[in-house]
């Protein structure tokens, strides 16, 4: 091996070794985000109910993932709206809340939890709206994350 090759090899090995040594203290610049999902009764995407009767228990599963780069406190809301109820990434639905659950998740932690929903009024094309809110310690309140999902149901009296 000539002198030049040896020098280049030494420089490459040194740079790699220095990078490996300082890697643990380098700031992570990944985009922070949260996840919301609604799973059917078999813990799968699909098999969602389309009909229900008043007083019947509707079993679903909620899914929340935290990739915000820090521990987060989530509020999972289930609201009951109708076809005209508006919900978007910027606006939460103005509809009565039928179920609320709370979860605290460490960074990169996900959780799946059961949702038991009972509806007390019959209706056609009732809209079950699922929203994810996140606690902000600066304002001491939950803020809408812009994550939502919906499920249409026909609810009969019996």
């Amino acid at each position: 091996m000539d002198k030049e090759t040896a020098t280049i090899a030494l420089a490459v090995v040194t740079i790699l070794a220095v990078f490996a040594a300082v890697y643990p203290i380098l700031p992570q610049n990944s985009e922070p985000f949260s996840e919301l999902g609604v799973l059917g009764p078999n813990l799968k995407i699909g098999g969602y109910p389309t009909n229900a009767t008043v007083g019947q228990q509707i079993s679903l599963f909620g899914y929340v993932g935290n990739h915000e780069g820090m521990v987060s406190y989530y509020q999972f809301l289930v609201k009951l709206g109708n076809q005209s109820t508006v919900v978007s990434n910027t606006t939460a639905a103005t509809a009565p809340v039928v179920l609320t659950t709370y979860e605290v998740l460490a960074n990169n932690q996900t959780v799946t939890f059961p949702l038991s929903i009972v509806l007390h009024q019959p209706g056609t094309n009732e809209k079950l709206i699922f929203e994810l809110w996140r606690f902000d310690p600066n304002t001491s309140s939950f803020g809408y994350t812009g994550l939502w999902d919906q499920l249409f149901l026909n609810v009969t009296s019996h």
Binding site: V13, T14, V18, V22, Y73, Y102, V104, P137
Partner: protein
């Protein structure tokens, strides 16, 4: 005039006692109010803020997160059973508050440990990098000379003979 314990007086006394004991203020456990639930939620929120600070400082908050979720489960259980079993609901709410308070007080030391560990990691990383650069520089400057000396020590006693 002295007090005489007649049958009539006894009846009045017993009636009054029954009336007092059957009063909802005395005998029944009150259902937890919205403000009770709000108070418990507020304690959980404070505990969460403390845990988030500990997390930012690099502390291992896994156990604290699990305990906070336990407190939240107790609050939701209390909410579900408040109408049917107010005594148990009050107990669960008190337990949830106690757990959240313990989490809040434990978060400080966890944050300090995380901060110390992060500082140690910083010094280790910077120190390792400095040592690597120093060793590389020494190899670059003296490597050739050291290699030749080692070679001479290993093969210096060898004799070279002409063959043929």
């Amino acid at each position: 005039m002295g007090f005489r314990l007649s049958c009539g007086n006894l009846f009045v006394f017993a009636s009054l006692l029954l009336l007092i004991l059957s009063s909802p203020l005395v005998s029944r456990t009150q259902a937890a109010s919205q403000s009770d639930f709000g108070g418990a939620q507020s304690v959980v929120q404070s505990a969460f803020s403390a845990v988030q600070n500990a997390d930012r400082l690099g502390g291992n908050v896994t156990a604290l997160v699990a305990q906070l979720n336990g407190a939240l489960s107790l609050i939701q259980k209390a909410s579900a059973e408040n109408a049917t079993n107010p005594a148990q609901a009050a107990k669960d709410l008190a337990n949830a508050t106690s757990v959240a308070q313990k989490v809040a007080s434990a978060a400080g030391p966890v944050g300090q440990q995380g901060s110390a560990a992060r500082q140690l990691q910083f010094y280790l990383s910077v120190g390792s990098a400095a040592v690597i650069v120093a060793v590389a520089s020494l190899i670059y400057i003296f490597g050739d000379r050291i290699y030749r000396r080692l070679w001479l020590r290993a093969y210096g006693s060898y004799e070279v003979r002409k063959i043929g």
